[in-house]
Symmetry: D2
Subunit: 374 residues, 4 copies
């Protein structure tokens, strides 16, 4: 089954294994005429790049992207944009003893049962490395959104027991961007320090941490998203849950809504700031989405990532013959994934939102008629 | 944009508005040869039916389903199964004063901005009534799953501040089914009583409650689901988040994973009970899904529903001209949605899982070759 | 496999069997705000209706369409439009002796092998009656096209050995519409008379005839259709080849191109009539499509239909046990299908073209930006 | 719009421009476990390769394919297979004067209108070079088909006025393969000689020729293909019409059916050679497809290609400002496309048929149940 594609009008296909010669992506359906260079993409890839600090894996990949198609004389042409990233730091030797062994918390067992064989080197296709293709393609979507005044901003809000203060949610996007440039991607210096201390202690215990990424989408007009199965929140949930380690996705007040009352949870509509007939909301419990469509308020999302399953501590498992095995995973692994995952959340949201905006172009007959009249 | 379809090989399309003449569904791609009667479906629809108790809306719909195609001499034929449910208890007069007014917490505003007009009667297409089509179609999927020994079981685990005790998660599916037949769909008599008391008090305050539905899928073999974007959890998340009031979806330990350590969160693989080479897991933090594929343990999901947005209490809003309005919603509304939503969660999971199982048939070349050799 | 849906943004799903209680269609993704009544659709259905003349089946179906959703106060709402047509003249008794027998030229054998069972009454799902759903939905697409000045016009150009004169291709669309109202749907009185005579002689011989339908799409702007696999001609070919009896599809000069020279086949571009920068073509060998996109000239198509396979003359076949059988098909069958198929060709083209136009809205970044700026 | 993907379970995405750094393809959904090397693919690419003889373009491309993912230790893994082919012989200087000029018979004008800009070098994305990605991916599908005893064989049946004798249709596939290795890909020495002579004369006249490719698919079991819109013939027609220069597609008797009688066109079913209950057909007018499903007889297709539009003879056209221009296309172009297009037809058919076979795995409930019981 072709599971490596995402989107309807704007369609991303990723390919590649952790220890193959390269990984990449094809982004089809992107509108023609937008200026695009490899630098626009590299900025995003660099945020995801391994080997950046004490809180990420020591695997070093330059992750230089090559645009192989879809751009001519510096502008997108409307044809598929093929993006190639060579793998340069494979150390497959790290994985020899994993060839016949199912790592706990990993996809190994499912792969073996499903396909009868698997590329065991670094998780093969199920490696987090696959997300480099998403980030490269999502950077292109984010650029077009940004031209339209729409920003997508993700940051780490929790690592293990360390959570950013509530005040972070009150910060402007500009403030977030300023404060986010920490090793943990937490936009709060105290939290960053505490989280790093905790990660250091975990490393000594040969253990790993989970974390939370929050994302806000600002500037999105109302009415984006479709009814029923293609609701904006349903698509965003799929986008985020498709990232390897995510185990929960929340929109707006998220899990808290089940304990809330209607009179508290409903956001009152009020006259908006843009003059006659404009509409705003007094609060944003909805997280910017009502009935599957954007409501004009910022879209607020939260994705919860499980701890990196690859830990140096010895674990119990079985091999492909069903024999009990003791396993200590060496390799080079992130003690926590969220600092590098924030940009993956951001770019997946960008792809999802842009696709929904392109689909929305045909919502009204009058607009279709108007488009072809000119 | 065609947002009313769901699934790849097994494809559901729903249609219909709350106050139109009928609602319905077309289920295409269902395998041929399974015995099917309207009674198989009606059992599920009856669980979703309004007007059943003090904790649901007083709108009375018999919700009788008619099979219009795809079944011949009592068996499915492989062609689209068309399901029709007539609306019989429309009271559109309830909605006259809502025609030009955006109800807080509803899709009204998004609809208006997107389409320029909307069927304001009972929310039109965004009404929870749309889910009747899902339930009818999902009942068919659930039947085939059940023939294969796979059960999908949902129940209410929380209503407002009232949550079922943890012991519920240790109950067998048979015990859940026995205990679930309460007005609240909570499989615990004390919780049910408490929740009903709380709902009664809310009703007096002209307010509404949120709640949580938990679902477990048992008997699912390992390896179901696809890699990358079509992960089983990504598809389930989309399935559940596409239900009107859902604001968060969790798999397994869900939001708790972000505070966990790898050594706790990883589930050790152990030799399974089915003899040589079989594999099981010591714990199930993963909720039965690893790397986007089922891992052989029960799949565990949780969906959080916001409080019913239609409340009799006066609310602040604006109308289509941007004027401030005071609004008290009369109509007939559920004080809490989860008792009727449990079966919606169940059937959406059934559709998702069966589709993934059909897609999985082509995973191995040897199976494809074997199929056509016979 | 879900084979009963067609289109990407504008998505049609049909359902129903020849002798079930009803047939129908769901048209999802249709833009909101277009005025629509059942009469708009009925006009098209009446052109496909059986029992109209000596050259069609004597089965009488009123084929009244009911709109069950997606229209509110006379306008489309952007939600799925559900269309229902009750079957009223089933005579399943005609088919009793066909239950275990494979009719030559029909889908019976394939159905049996694929699904292991089949609704043998009137061909079940493979009956031409399925096209009523297409016509009903396509009528809606044709209305929006017509508002944009785009007309889709089909007529019968050949029945058996009788072909319309070449002069027909030089007639204006208005002239075609005037002349097309014959029993054979041939826009030429002499051809109509000859064809009817020939059909009468065939009927005596208990035989049937094939025929050809030509279609022209006028007013379509250039640039519609997508590159590579979603070329406009590829989509139109699929649309027409999906009609039961079609065995060949031609665009423009069609099969003749293989014997042509480049210097003859190329259409010279010339300055167009619409002033500065406008472009036209001196000839139209391309049939209005170049490189998979419309080129501004009329789109010209031709579909070849095989003779009705149901004939009263005795035929040789086998039954489901592989025994030799002699078969004379009674029932009520069209001696030739094309007079009723012209409107099916027309509506399938309308659905295809409108979908391609909706997809085209997102081709240019500047248009996307402009849409959201307003 | 994402037009560069094809297929449902087995999904091909191609990318790349004629004069960009590379072209390629991603084949997703291919079953795991099939042995695959680059040589398996290269054999097919070599048949499409330019610069092979007097009847093809003098552009020389080695067209070496690199497998970048989806294969591990010599076997497919079930993950996307990424295929890369570097462009090495770009001579973009040939195209400088075409930058603002619409070549007759080409996609230039449509591209310009649709996207507002275009990569004019060698037709950019609309170049026939795009088909190298299809051939590379299709070779993989053809290998799995061949393991299952299904062969797909295409040859040139006509070039301009020169057509192979009818006896070719009576040749066995082995005979065709023997005889097909001519410069024209015609499996008949006399026709090949005549056609080459004719092409030589055209070349002197600075003109080009059209041609016809016939394809037969043998060994395909009955019941492959889906009903209604996903009929096997509809999918094959789309597959072939999506090849740049194809203007007509025929199945079986093709255009001839419109002049036929039912009693002649119907193929009688007879007891088959495989013993009890097996079914065969006395004739094969249907071309192996009835009601959209394979009927067990060889599938017979015919695609008509227009003459190469790039001719050295001077042509009339306009430029992007609407000015009249005289144009003589230099570059390096095939005087006729069909000798190299036969393998494109073959591989597109292989992809289409294999996808339909994968979809067919879920047709019967009993098979689904049986698969999961083991």
């Amino acid at each position: 089954m072709a599971g490596s594609s995402f989107g309807t009008i704007l369609r991303l296909t990723t390919w590649g294994e952790s220890h193959g010669p390269a990984i990449g992506a094809v982004l089809d359906g992107f509108p023609a005429g937008m200026p695009l260079t490899e630098d626009d993409i590299q900025i995003y890839l660099d945020r995801r790049r391994p080997g950046q600090s004490a809180v990420t894996t020591s695997r070093r990949e330059s992750d230089r992207v090559e645009i192989l198609s879809g751009v001519f004389e510096g502008r997108t042409t409307g044809t598929p944009i093929s993006l190639l990233i060579r793998n340069t730091s494979q150390r497959s030797s790290d994985y020899g003893d994993l060839a016949d062994c199912f790592r706990p918390g990993h996809a190994d067992y499912g792969f073996q049962v499903k396909y009868g064989l698997r590329d065991y080197r670094g998780g093969g296709r199920s490696s987090g490395r696959e997300t480099a293709g998403r980030v490269a393609a999502g950077a292109i979507a984010a650029k077009l959104l940004s031209i339209m005044g729409i920003t997508v901003t993700a940051y780490v809000s929790a690592i293990g027991p360390v959570a950013v203060p509530d005040s972070v949610r009150g910060m402007s996007t500009a403030q977030i961007l300023d404060a986010r440039d920490t090793q943990t991607c937490m936009p709060d210096a105290d939290s960053d320090r505490e989280a790093r201390a905790w990660l250091a202690s975990l490393r000594e215990e040969m253990d790993s941490a989970g974390g939370t990424v929050e994302c806000r989408i600002e500037g999105l007009p109302a009415g984006i998203g479709d009814t029923v199965f293609e609701k904006l929140d349903a698509r965003l949930a799929a986008a985020l849950m498709s990232i390897g380690a995510v185990k929960a996705v929340e929109i707006g007040d998220g899990t808290a809504v089940s304990a809330a009352r209607g009179s508290d949870n409903n956001d009152a509509f009020i006259p908006g700031p843009d003059g006659e007939g404009s509409v705003a909301k007094r609060t944003n419990h909805s997280g910017g989405i009502l009935g599957g469509m954007s409501d004009g308020s910022p879209v607020l999302l939260r994705a919860h990532f499980k701890p990196t399953p690859s830990i140096a501590r010895e674990q119990e498992t079985v091999d492909t013959d069903g024999n009990v095995r003791r396993l200590a995973i060496r390799g080079r692994h992130d003690p926590v994934i969220v600092p590098r995952a924030a940009v993956v959340v951001e770019t997946m949201c960008a792809l999802t939102v842009l696709d929904a905006m392109l689909l929305n172009l045909s919502a009204r007959a009058e607009n279709v008629i108007g488009f072809y009249r000119k």
